[in-house]
């Protein structure tokens, strides 16, 4: 299990103090790490999450490592951009067929972990026709907030950031092992999103 940084541990217990070094906002990993480990340390905290099936998972170890992933944030009661993005992602899942759940995995993380229990997310997934291989995730509010910030689903204007109706509608996609990471709007044409995801597929001869 990766070392939990001081910042992470503080975020996990929900402290709001910002004293001294913490305001630096910087992960400075020890020297000698591979670029892949540096990416893991900076962007993928290994927090515990609950899936919409009620299973406990670790974010990096179970969901990200060695996989091609597609990540977005949503919440069940969102009536703004979420339904459109989810509908788009249903089409993406359909287009990628049995790759989803085999080596490409889709994750939708709730922005309202207080309200979105695994049950509520399961209902949401079924209502929208999400199939296996696409996991909806909730967790401790502090952990979810840490993930949201680490994964870059933050608006740099704090006022905008506070307003959940203006939440970031991007979809992050990447191949963890190849260290190829991109992002596109969740409201983009689903056929186009599929093309972008396919762009970080394994090269010929590499495992899938």
């Amino acid at each position: 299990m990766p070392r939990i940084t001081r910042r992470e541990s503080i975020a996990m217990v929900g402290l709001s103090s910002l004293a001294g070094d913490l305001a630096h906002g910087e992960d400075r990993p020890a020297k000698g790490k591979t670029s892949r480990e540096l990416i893991r340390d900076r962007y993928f905290p290994n927090v515990s999450l609950l899936t919409h099936e009620g299973k406990e998972v670790r974010f990096y170890d179970d969901l990200i490592k060695d996989k091609i992933v597609v990540i977005n944030f949503m919440y069940a009661e969102c009536e703004g951009i979420c339904p459109g993005i989810t509908a788009n992602l249903v089409k993406v899942q359909k287009a990628l067929g049995d790759r989803i759940g085999r080596d490409i995995f889709m994750y939708s993380i709730t922005l309202k972990p207080d309200r979105d229990s695994p049950g509520a997310l399961k209902e949401y997934a079924e209502m929208h026709g999400a199939k296996p291989g696409w996991t909806f995730l909730t967790g401790k509010p502090g952990d979810i907030e840490l993930l949201r910030r680490r994964l870059g689903f933050v608006d740099s204007d704090p006022e905008v950031d506070k307003d959940k109706s203006q939440h970031i509608g991007n979809v992050r996609y990447g191949n963890e092992a190849l260290q190829q990471w991109g992002a596109c709007p969740g409201q983009a044409n689903p056929t186009w999103i599929v093309k972008l995801i396919s762009g970080v597929d394994w090269p010929k001869g590499m495992r899938s």
Partner: protein, 593 residues
């Protein structure tokens, strides 16, 4: 360097950063006390760093860039990129149709190959290479054309078509960022679509792509046969990777260089034509800002969507180089190669900070102005170029700096603050230490005439409006996102159009680039550029600043095919602030595509 001084340097660096961020965040003393930044006695609380985004209600610290390790300034000379040399032949020989069987990644036939067969052939390889940004940073892997950053400089001439066979020699192991799948754009070339480096014309490892550059002025096949309109001559172009969604990573990693185009007036010989400084006195300068992690490795923030700022300022790949010059006139071709920063460059004499050191702008975006314009500074958005002439005669025996005095603290755009002389980023130092030499170049003060501006009074066939905006953290144009497969609108070949670019926000700025044809600015916020101003020019990037509306005049000529318009803050570009438009025999009339 001793450890103590390293620590001290960092403290100074951070103090300056804190100060700027406090200014930028517009915090009152009361706010600062509340945030614990100010002691009761009014002193700044010492901190290792402070972000303007710091006021977070959840108390979760946002991710900042690392602070680069200290590097000693002005200890290495300015690198001069080698001139790319042609090859006698290519095997297999270039073909009109894509040579897929031999491993070519091109998908469409050359449009002008038969009419304008290449007279020079080149072969370039994009490869990983070991590189030093500074002797105080470790050797590290970059990606470069021929393994160089910046890549070799092409010297091309109007009337001499060339073909470059461009090989993808990159590797799957990217060291943390970069996509080994590439499409090389010749920025500002009047280039047929299939050779232009369209973002989705990428090719993969071990493939190659033949790019045919006709080197013909616009109008050669339409309004001004057979050679084109000399007043549409281009001079300072650059090439860079344009791979869709990964342009920022790939260019930041080093895939970029210069392409200079000469003709019978801008000859490359200062004793002929316009008599512009030439040879060793004609120097391309690529400005970048980058950031390095604690172990000195180039750092790219993968999940940033606002724009990436560096804290190390470099020219031609070296952090804060010096350049020894003779006391005479030089032409500098200054390029902001990104990723996101806007620059305002001044000439600063540290021993005489109050001096106004004037020089001459002769070209905007690589296009010679009607006449030189005297300036004290110039602004560059990403991808903009300014050719300037500096006469070092008055500085003989002294040193003078190119200093960026524009304060920018967020990737979204610059502030309106111009820092005091000496308080900005000293980016390169000119040491006027070499002996006097002959100078056959023209004195810009005599107001030589270059190219006249092509007429822009023709009535547009259609006027189209484009809103550059942000919706739910997604960068958009007219509310829509990039899709290479779906052209938003079709321009009719050999027609005139007016494009209106809008930015309804005071929160960010966008250097907008339109491929293939240059434009002239008709109006910025309702006002036409003054005759004799630098914006009274031909351009290919326009800075769409806070709450601005800009009207552009275009004449699309000669070739057919697909092209993009996009924000050249490459982070915005990679997050969908781009659209595809096509040129065809028949155009459409979509006004807000």
């Amino acid at each position: 360097m001793p450890k103590a001084s390293k620590k001290r340097l960092k403290e100074i660096e951070n103090a300056a950063k804190n100060r700027r961020e406090i200014i930028e965040a517009n915090l009152s003393r009361r706010d600062m006390m509340k945030m614990g930044l100010l002691t009761g006695a009014g002193m700044l609380v010492p901190k290792r760093g402070l972000s303007a985004r710091w006021r977070d209600p959840q108390g979760v610290v946002p991710l900042d860039n690392p602070v680069s390790p200290p590097t000693r300034p002005f200890i290495e000379p300015l690198p001069i990129m080698p001139i790319k040399q042609p090859v006698a032949s290519l095997t297999p020989a270039p073909t009109v149709n894509p040579n897929t069987a031999a491993g070519e990644g091109r998908t469409r036939p050359h449009q002008a190959f038969t009419q304008l067969p290449p007279r020079k052939l080149y072969e370039v390889h994009q490869t990983p290479a070991q590189f030093s940004f500074s002797p105080d940073l470790p050797l590290q892997t970059i990606w470069g054309f021929d393994g160089q950053f910046p890549g070799p400089t092409y010297i091309a001439r109007y009337g001499e078509p060339i073909l470059i066979r461009n090989f993808n020699g990159l590797t799957t192991n990217n060291g943390g960022f970069g996509k080994p799948s590439v499409s090389t754009h010749l920025h500002n070339g009047h280039t047929p679509s299939e050779s232009d480096g369209f973002p989705c014309d990428f090719f993969e490892i071990a493939q190659f792509y033949d790019q045919h550059y006709p080197n013909k002025q616009a109008g050669f096949n339409s309004t001004h046969p057979p050679n084109g309109d000399v007043n549409e001559s281009l001079s300072t172009l650059w090439y860079h990777d344009h791979r869709v969604d990964f342009t920022a990573q790939n260019v930041y990693k080093g895939l970029t260089g210069f392409y200079l185009l000469f003709n019978q007036f801008d000859t490359g010989d200062e004793t002929t034509g316009f008599h512009l400084p030439s040879g060793e006195f004609d120097v391309p300068l690529m400005f970048n800002d980058k950031v390095f992690d604690s172990s000195g490795q180039l750092f790219f923030d993968l999940f940033n969507t606002d724009g990436i700022l560096g804290d190390k300022f470099m020219v031609n790949g070296k952090i804060q180089p010096f350049f020894q010059v003779h006391p005479r006139r030089y032409r500098f071709r200054c390029l902001d190669a990104g990723p996101s920063r806007f620059w305002e460059l001044f000439l600063t004499d540290l021993n005489n900070l109050n001096a106004h050191n004037m020089f001459w702008e002769i070209a905007n975006d690589g296009n010679l102005l009607p006449r030189p314009v005297q300036i004290e500074s110039f602004r560059l958005g990403v991808a903009e170029r300014k050719d300037v002439i500096i006469d070092f005669t008055p500085f003989a025996g002294k040193s003078i700096y190119f200093e960026n005095r524009l304060l920018q603290t967020s990737g979204r755009g610059p502030t309106s603050t111009i820092l005091a002389p000496g308080q900005g980023n000293l980016t390169m130092r000119f040491d006027v230490a070499l002996p006097p030499v002959a100078d056959h170049s023209v004195d810009p003060a005599t107001m030589p005439q270059f190219y006249a501006l092509p007429n822009k009074t023709a009535a547009p066939r259609v006027t189209r409006t484009f809103r550059f905006e942000r919706t739910n953290g997604q960068w958009a144009i007219n509310g829509k996102f990039v899709d290479c497969d779906a052209p938003r609108f079709t321009v009719q070949r050999n027609s005139v159009e007016k494009w209106v670019l809008q930015n309804n926000s005071g929160g960010w700025q966008h250097p907008v680039h339109i491929h293939f044809e240059e434009h002239q600015i008709l109006k910025r916020n309702g006002v036409a550029p003054a005759v004799g101003s630098e914006e009274n020019s031909r351009k290919d990037v326009v800075r769409l600043q806070f709450n601005e509306q800009i009207e552009l005049f275009f004449r699309f000529r000669d070739f057919l095919g697909r092209h993009p318009m996009h924000c050249h803050n490459v982070v915005h570009e990679d997050h969908a602030m781009m659209l595809r438009w096509d040129i065809d025999i028949v155009g459409d009339n979509k006004t807000t595509p």
